[in-house]
Amino acid sequence: MYFDSFQAAMAMGGHGVYVWSAYGITALVIAQLVLWPSARKKRLVAELRGEQRRRAGASQETGQSDRESS
């Protein structure tokens, strides 16, 4: 390791604020890039499942098949 102590690694000879804030912002953006699609996918699957349930409920009342096309 280049730095002698944790404090030295944090300070980076006065440049610590710049370096660590740059890495912090980058980490946040990358986390968003990874998490955002999976959150949208979960929401979409939940929405489609809700549609399926409603259709199944409706077809039980009218006595029709819930799968019009497949």
Partner: protein, 246 residues
Amino acid sequence: MWSFFHKLGSPPWLYRISGSILRWLLPLAVLGLVVGVLWGLLYTAPDFRQGNSYRIMYIHVPAAVVALAGYYVMAIAGAINLIWRMKIADVAMLAAAPVGAALTFVALVTGAIWGKPTWGTWWVWDARITSMLILLFLYLGVIALYEAYDNKTAASRACAVLALVGTVNIPIIYKSVDWWYSLHQPASIKFTGGSTIDPSMLYPLLLCIVSFYALFTCALLANMRVAILDRERRTGWVQRLVEEGG
């Protein structure tokens, strides 16, 4: 060869294969980035002129490099969509835009933070930085243009045209540090001739660049998968997938 292109046009196949790619590529990309970043941050010597602030390079350069590569993906996908009307190309173009925008944003912000201790200013309107800002606006423009149309086929074509026109900006970004007098330093890594970077700094940087490419691929595929599910929501295979739990 042709059967591959045929399969590429098949949404269920693409959905399945991208899922299995993501399962190993995403952990690998994250691991590579963590190792590369810690290596660059803690196990390399400081730059003899810039001191420790140069360590921002290990994320700034990969973000900028992949932000440019992402524009190729978006523009080429747009061209394929215009010429062959391939639906999957349209999905790829729109999936690349937010990822490219995010990486361009990272390149600009980390560049500004690096500029303060190094050049004494957060921002200058020089050629490299201004052309990167235009790149950000091109990405955001494609996203906004798509949202602005109700007719999504027309929206995709307009976006593809914008993406293609915007490629003019790409060689300007590459050459900006050579063509104009600039605060921004020229490239230190060259494919032809000698690089002006020490190997001890080059290896962690290369690992970070490869990891950013892998992360871009993961985010692109993940966005494409959501778009495929959304567009194919009425088909049997998506309905079965939802029944099985996504």
